[in-house]
Structure formats: C-alpha cells, structure tokens
C-alpha cells in the first residue's frame, strides 16, 4: 500500500513524526489497527523498517509514525523524505495492548524518550474512551527538555483535567518548571502510584525499563500488571523470517506487547 506523507513534525533534534495518508482513499476506511500494533514502513530503494503506529484508530483519516534517526534506513528517511512524498506501508502487524484487561482499571503510563510513541496510541485511545477507565496518570521523561516528543500534545494532556500528567528531565535547566530526575526516581518519590486495581504500561530505553521495573517491584506491582512493548529486529512481520525469535516466541506475531510476567518466562535475549 502506498501512503503519502501529509505532514512532518520535527519532535526533537533526531525524532520526526510522519503523518501518513493512503494514496487510495478507499484504503483509509479499510485500514484498522489497535493500539500497540506496528507497520512495516518502506522507503523504496533504502529498505524497510518496523515502526509502531503512534496514533489511535479512534482518530481516523491519517496515522503517525515517529521515527528516530538511528540507522541506515532511518537516516535516509530523515534526509530524503519531504511532505507529499510517497512511502510503502505493510500492516498492521502484531498483537496489541490487552484492552479488555485494562477496562475499569487505573492506568499508569511510564514513558521515556521515543518510548512514548507506542504508548501514545493507547493514551489517545484511552482519552477517546475516557469513561472506560478509572484514574489516568502519565509519567514521561527525557534527557533534556528538547528531547521530549509531542510537545504540543503534552501541553494538551497537561490541560486535560481528566488525567494527571507528570513531566521530568534528567538534569535541571534554567527555564524548566517541571520535575527533575530520572523516571524511576520520580515514579517512587513523586507519583507514588497506588497498586490496587492499577495497570502500568511502560516503554522507553532499556536502561530506563530496567530501573523502572525495579521501582515498580519495590512499590509492590505484580509482574502481570506491568505491560511493555518490545523492540526487536524484524523484517517480514509475518512469522517467517526468523529474526525476532526469542525462544519459540515470534515477537512479530506473539508480541510486541507483553506483560512483564510473560517476559520472565522467555530466555534472556532481548
């Protein structure tokens, strides 16, 4: 399927969000996805990359992929693509956040850096179905204020009275009025979430995940109540090419969304 780039938003110095629309309008209606799913994004001639869909299907018409300049294809994407250009899309693939289990629960989102992208699809979905959930908390951090994604939307979420939004950066900055400190620290000292009836959805750099999980454990969260989405090298998205294997699990088919309890049963290879 061919998509046209409707809009490019420079989120941070190395992250851009590409808003995509289908070239054939009939596909817009047909293309449905659940929060947490991903697509294969092609820049023809450079190759294919796996990106999560960073927006919710409750906001139809277009969808977002937030892309950090990291490797060969992403560098080409940042350099070569302008608004109006065409890219190839396959998908949606993978499983999604367990919406049924989340219903009626308190939601606590813990995100770091580009890790907010997969959470954003669920955050938007939950905002659009706000009455289905109890308390709604977002903790989001980045290295510096410039590294925060979706700045306009963060502002919007902050002004949204039905949810609590906590922002943090690693080191103090002159104009910064929010919290300062790494995500796990803020989680323990500022958010102090209640454990009962709460589901935690987290995504971020490996080092943040590691310490966040330790903090959550300290706070008394059960592994089955902590949900994350894995990053793994993928190519086909169809459970064939074999590179996303962790044990007998195919991340592209059985994931990318896992609870921490499920991850504990997998060999330590991610």
């Amino acid at each position: 399927m061919i998509c046209t780039i409707d809009k490019i938003i420079q989120e941070t110095p190395d992250i851009r969000t590409y808003r995509l629309k289908f070239r054939e309008e009939s596909l817009t209606e047909q293309f449905n996805w659940m929060p947490g799913q991903f697509v294969e994004f092609s820049l023809l001639g450079s190759g294919e990359c796996t990106f999560c869909i960073a927006s919710s299907a409750t906001r139809k018409g277009a969808f977002d992929c937030s892309i950090k300049r990291a490797g060969i294809v992403t560098a080409d994407i940042h350099r070569d693509l302008d608004e109006g250009d065409e890219v190839g899309i396959r998908g949606p693939y993978g499983n999604w956040f367990p919406l049924k289990d989340l219903k009626g629960k308190n939601l606590l989102f813990v995100g770091g850096g580009i890790g907010l992208a997969p959470l954003r699809s669920l955050i938007q979905y939950a905002i659009d179905n706000r009455s289905d959930y109890a308390d709604f908390t977002i903790l989001y951090g980045a290295r510096t204020s410039a590294d925060l994604c979706y700045k306009e939307e963060l502002e919007e979420w902050k002004n949204n009275e039905s949810l609590q939004m906590i922002l943090t950066i690693d080191k103090p900055e002159d104009t910064w009025k929010e919290h300062v400190g790494v995500v796990p620290k803020i989680l323990e000292e500022v958010v102090k979430p209640k454990v009962e009836n709460t589901k935690v959805i987290t995504c971020g750099p490996p080092i943040m995940i590691k310490y966040t999980l330790m903090s959550l454990d300290k706070l008394g969260f059960a592994p089955k109540d902590v949900i994350t989405t894995l990053e793994m090298k993928m190519q086909c998205g169809l459970g064939k090419c074999g590179r996303c294997n962790i044990g007998s699990t195919y991340v592209c088919k059985d994931g990318p969304v896992f609870t921490y309890e499920e991850l504990n049963t997998l060999p330590d290879e991610f």
Binding site: L44, C241, S248
Partner: protein, 349 residues
C-alpha cells in the same frame, strides 16, 4: 492408503527416468567439481538421480530460492508504481528426481512454518506442483544421523514416489502419496506390477540401511535436556572455531531465515528476499546499536536451541533432520551432532 508398488530393474529404471525427463520439466542432481546441486535437466546423461553421495545443496532452493525478487517499483512524476515481479520460474508443474529422503523430510518441516498464520502462496504453489521421486538410501555416510531423530526408516511419506534398490539390480517403486499414485499411473514406462516378495525385500533393505549408521543419539533425552541448557558454558566452547560464514544455514534443508533488501538504480528498484542466517552478526543488530546476540556463542546457542528445542515447542517437529549437510560443508568442521551432544553432556555449575 493402499500403496501401489511397481517393480523393475536397472535398465527399466533408466527408461522410466528418461521418459519422465522427456515428458516433464525435470530437475535432478547434477555433478560439478564432485559436488551435487539440483538443476533443470533435459537428458539423463548429465545427471545422477541415484548417486549415493549426499547432495551438497539442499532441494529447498527449488521451493525457497536463494534469492528471489518479491517486488519491483518505478518512481514516476505522478507517483510510485509497484509491480509484481515477472512470472515465478518455479511455479510450473515439475518433477524432481533424486531427492534424498532427509531432504524431502526437510520440506515437510518447512511446511510447518510456511503454513502457519500467513500462508506463503508462492511456496505452497511450488510444493503442490512438484512431484518428488527419491531413492531410499542404501547406506548412511559419515555424518548421517537421521535415524536418531524421531524417524522411522519405513515411513517414506515425505516423497511422492520412493525408489528402493533391493540389490542384484532389482528396484521397487512405491507411490507414497495420492499425487505420486496418480503420477505413476500415467508414467510407468519400464515398470511392471510388483509381486508378493516386494514387501519382505523392501523391509530387508530398510533394516540394512538402519544398521549402517556410525552416529546415534537418544533424541528424546537430547530434546529434554537441551531445554535447561540455555546457560550452558559449552556453547562458548563449541562455537569458538566458527568463522560465521553461514554456509551451514545455506545448505541446511530446514533453515528458513531470510532477509529483505532493496536495490535501486535511479528511479527503478527491486526488492529481494534472500537467505540469511542466525549465525550472521548483523542478523539481530538493531539501528542504534543494540544487539541481543552480539557474540558468537549466543548465535550458536540460538541455532542449536532453535533446531532442537524451540521449533519442536512451536510446531511439533524437530528443525534438524540429521542429514549432515552442514557438517560436510563447514570449513572448520563444526558438527551439529557433536555440538548438541557436548551441550547436553557438559555439567553446569
């Protein structure tokens, strides 16, 4: 199923093969520098369907090609145009002669992954349109260990038509699938119906074959014990000689990992699907530098565990069929047989 059996002699078998080659698109093992690979043939002279030497390359390349175009595209001023590639050269009706039984069983193993969830229609069509005619091995060679892996030598269902040499130039042909049965009905030059002695004589041949193995292991034990060997220090030892050339995966009848890559010249480009291997350091390397398997022993661990544990867990069959192709082609003599035995028998602290 009622198995139809025909009998013939060496000359009759030659006539049978020749008639097939004349009437059908036929692939057979062709020798080059002492090594065999499957090629399209137009006469029996250039090929050797009953060679006792194991083929170097696997027949899988006729179903899952080394490198195949999956898409073409052209960028025009009006936008990007995608086009399917030209016709699949492997999709037509065809016959493959001389497939070793292990190789044919490898295809059965591949069926499991290709037919779960998303169905690879190209693969499916190639499978459907192919008749496999394969000789039952007479004798195991140095690195064979197929009988160790949950395998009954009398079960020949992986081939459509089994060719069994029972000695003294006498040959039996047995249809093992519906497809094979229909094929033999129409293509039976040089064959005649087998008499009552066939069953017994074939059984004798199977027993002789089963008794000719140098290597053997207890598969059940290996499969069970391997499950707890993820942290075994033996992986480091067994993989230390590996030069990561990936040959083992390319010749393996069951290795099926591939990569997708683009090639472009100006406004036109092609997307390829080609063999890849978990022994390749780039296999799981992600943009940004994170690699879940950055060192050799981890990649060997994945290879061994996938073959002997994970695939079985997921699809119910073992991903190694004991053909020994990887060991024969390995430049540094790493044997998968020795690897798993060493891993299983190394004590863990």
């Amino acid at each position: 199923m009622n198995l139809t059996t025909y009998s013939t002699d060496s000359a009759g078998l030659q006539a049978f093969y020749e008639a097939i080659i004349n009437a059908h698109e036929t692939y057979a093992p062709v020798e080059k520098f002492g090594k065999y690979d499957f090629k399209k043939v137009d006469s029996l002279a250039g090929c050797d369907p009953d060679s006792p030497i194991p083929q170097t390359m696997s027949v899988k390349s006729l179903f899952f090609p080394k490198s195949a175009k999956v898409m073409k595209y052209t960028a025009t001023s009006e936008g990007t145009e995608l086009s399917d590639t030209t016709e699949d050269p492997l999709a037509g009706k065809r016959v493959v002669l001389g497939v070793k039984h292990c190789d044919a069983r490898g295809l059965q193993v591949l069926d499991a992954v290709y037919k779960w969830d998303y169905i690879d229609t190209d693969y499916e069509k190639r499978r459907e349109n192919t008749i496999l005619i394969s000789p039952r091995c007479d004798q195991a060679v140095t690195h064979c260990f197929c009988t160790s892996l949950d395998y009954d030598v009398e079960n020949l269902d992986a081939m459509d038509v089994a060719v069994i040499h029972v000695g003294d130039g006498k040959v039996y042909l047995q249809a093992r699938t519906e497809k094979g049965k229909n094929f033999l009905k129409e293509n039976n030059k040089g064959l005649s119906a087998a008499n009552g002695a066939a069953k017994e004589e074939m059984k004798k041949q199977y027993d002789k074959f089963a008794g000719s193995f140098r290597l053997s292991m207890d598969y059940k034990e290996i499969n069970e014990k391997m499950q707890d060997k993820f942290d075994s220090p033996a992986f480091e030892e067994v993989s230390s000689n590996c030069v990561s050339c990936n040959t083992c995966a390319f010749v393996c009848p069951t290795c099926h990992c591939f990569k997708i890559s683009d090639e472009k010249i100006r406004d036109k480009g092609v997307r390829y699907k080609s063999y890849d291997s978990c022994n390749n350091v780039y296999f799981t390397l992600m943009a940004g530098g994170h690699n879940p398997r950055p060192v050799k022993y981890r990649r060997w661990r994945q290879r061994s565990m996938h073959k002997f544990v994970y695939y079985k867990e997921r699809f119910g069959v073992n991903l190694c069929i004991g053909c020994g192709k990887c060991t024969i082609s390995c430049p540094v003599n790493i044997s998968i047989f020795e690897v798993v035995n060493k891993v299983v028998n190394t004590m863990q602290e």
